[in-house]
């Protein structure tokens, strides 16, 4: 019978720091070193690498140290030890690069299919009350930073509320789409930063700015369609989905990019969540058109809204290529066409 291959090692017994030169060999499911034996399953075996020392950790705190890594690898192989799959991948440039490619593909796939699926499950699980509290929290934050109390006269606000309520009740009578259990319109002054704007927060709070109402004071149908669009966001809980997505992407980005820079980690979050909301915008547009038609509102007046907003932004947009790149709305023409379709 051929004797098992042997290798020189330094044995540290875990009590004395003195190295004891021993010979090691594998035989009968056990590692023999000097006059000692340890069953194979009780050992922590080192992974094959090009650099560094090889150490076999023994039960009870001792270890065998091998100064010559190449000799150890040759001995381990000759003794019938094979590398784990992970080690084979780590030692091959081709497989390591393949894992990077798979990583990117996996991230893209998770982003395209996994994330929306997971977000939908979480949204289904999250109670409306928690969502509402989140929305209130956001609104109070916005009220401190970006929004001021509306300067619209009380009777004007009342008139807009009345128009909206009338359209909704007419839509209900005509078998329009389901409306959320809870929603509320808030009038606010958006100042220079927000300008003509309307947005829906998680939980059903819809904010519309004085600037938008002023811009469309002669186009109530456009205003009502905008509100219907925001109600679509509320109905489909887009705000919550957006926040969950941005949060998840932020976590993944920080794992990949690491602590290198918060700046780098924030960029994909912003870009990704904007790209996402394009689908949401289309969904809200569909909802708005259905609701508007059922409520006797002329949705095609949205063309005026797009035209005026574009004119208002026009000057800045031309000089701001960035503004187009990060815009979260589908191209205006496409949406005008959608709202004007018979």
């Amino acid at each position: 019978m051929m004797s098992a291959p042997r290798l020189a090692a330094d044995w540290f017994d875990g009590r004395s720091a003195r190295a004891r030169p021993v010979e090691v060999w594998l035989d009968g499911g056990a590692l023999h070193f000097g006059d000692q034996t340890a069953p194979l399953h009780s050992l922590t075996w080192p992974e094959r690498q090009r650099h560094g020392q090889r150490q076999v950790l023994l039960p009870g705190g001792g270890l065998l140290s091998f100064a010559d890594a190449d000799a150890f690898d040759a001995w381990a192989q000759a003794s019938g030890r094979s590398d784990s799959a992970v080690v084979r991948w780590q030692q091959s440039w081709r497989l390591a690069l393949l894992s990077l490619v798979l990583l990117v593909a996996g991230l893209l796939g998770a982003y395209r299919w996994g994330l929306p699926w997971a977000v939908d499950r979480v949204v289904d699980l999250l109670p409306r009350a928690a969502e509402q509290r989140l929305g209130e929290h956001l609104l109070s934050g916005l009220d401190g930073e970006w929004l001021k109390p509306s300067r619209l006269a009380a009777e004007q606000q009342q008139a807009w509320r009345l128009r909206w309520a009338t359209a909704l009740s007419r839509a209900r009578g005509n078998g329009g789409p389901a409306v959320p259990e809870r929603f509320e319109i808030h009038f606010r002054d958006g100042g220079k930063a927000l300008g003509p704007n309307a947005f829906a927060l998680p939980g059903g709070d819809i904010v519309i700015t004085d600037e938008l109402l002023k811009l469309l004071s002669d186009e109530p149908d456009a205003v009502l369609t905008v509100l219907a669009h925001e109600l679509g966001h509320v109905q489909h809980r887009h705000g919550l989905r957006l926040m969950l997505r941005a949060g998840a992407i932020g976590v993944v980005a920080s794992v990949v990019v690491g602590d290198f820079s918060a700046l780098l980690a924030a960029a994909p979050t912003l870009l990704a969540s904007n790209a996402y909301s394009r689908d949401n915008e289309r969904e809200a547009d569909r909802y708005a058109r259905t609701l508007a038609r059922a409520g006797g509102v002329d949705a095609s007046r949205m063309a005026v809204f797009f035209e005026r907003v574009a004119k208002k932004r026009g000057a800045t947009v031309e000089r701001h290529p960035v503004a187009i790149a990060i815009s979260s709305h589908p191209a205006d023409e496409e949406r005008v066409r959608f709202f004007s379709e018979p």
Binding site: S16, A17, L57, S65, L103, V255, F260
Partner: protein
Amino acid sequence: MSDLHAAPEAAVLPSPMSGPRVLEIRFTGSGSEYFRIWAVNLLLILVTLGLYLPFAKARRIRYFYANTLVDGQALSFHGDAWKMFRGFLLLVLLMGAYTFAGKVSATAALVAFLILCGVWPALWRASLQFRLGNTSWRGLRMRFDGALKDAYLACAPLYLPLMVFMAWSALMAPATDTDRAAVQAYGITSLLVMGVVLLLSPLSFALFKRYQHNGYRIAGQQAQLDLSNGRVYLLGLKLLGVTLASALVAVLVLGLLVGGLFIATGFKPDTSAPLTQVGFYAIGLLVYLLVFAVVLPFGAARMQNLAWNGTRSQALGFRSSLKFRSLFGLTLKNWLLTALTLSLYRPFAAVATARLRLEAVQIDSREDPADWVAASLAGHADATGDIAGDFFGIDMGL
């Protein structure tokens, strides 16, 4: 260890030299090898939806330990990845609850913050116990012997003002921004607290380092850190000076460069145009990055030297001579290449930084460490209550 067949029995050889000697630290890791380990680890983390993280971490620690040679012998890591997994779950739960509480309400956020502050020193100690207790050199386990009470005392000067301020701001924060006086009072108090925290941060750094280093043990050796608060405050002042000076230089150089460019080309920018404003932001960002590229390595190099030069035990003395210039050059190179390669350079950067920082340290020993025996044999047996740390395998940092 020449001819093994001539010495078949595990004979205890007399040490080749006893008496004072220097234990050199060498780091033999390779960026290209760690790159491949990193790539496969990342894929496994993704495939397991993050659950592989502690296992990846254990592998990374093993790689760095196997390549850290102290006097020719590598460190070894005995940590059980499954225990680290438990610690990882605990931390994820804790941070998840904290983040969620922040989104629910201000009161919930405050309670979560106070709880986190309350358990953090204990977690910190547990992680030190786990890491040290699972590190060995020449078969001798290291230990961390810091008392729980001292962990809380070390954290107190930083945590207490923050906790009081958070509680105060949650209770007293102005409800609306219409009450001018309240807003002003709130702003002034916030600034005051920030100033207090800034003033206390060198003291906190000294307390953290003293707590850590005074708890390090191996065999019969008990580390002791001689680090006065005054020296840390002096370093803090220097850091402030370097920050201001580098900001000034960055602004001057960039200003001269941009101004010179305008004069040379005869271009007069329209200060109200958005593009010009974007340009100003870009310059501001560049100044910010340049300042950090100077201040971070300066602080890191000086703090490492300060902490390790003051550390000694019965037989050991540490010397750290990490040069600011080397770390600055390396940081600049790492940042640039990491940005250019979309973070593919990160593993190379990690290996290069570890090499520079580790090899800057030397250990003077008055004894031959081969003569050491484990603490339990030397009569220093003390069963510290590190069961929590070991059970959960909490491991932070690195």
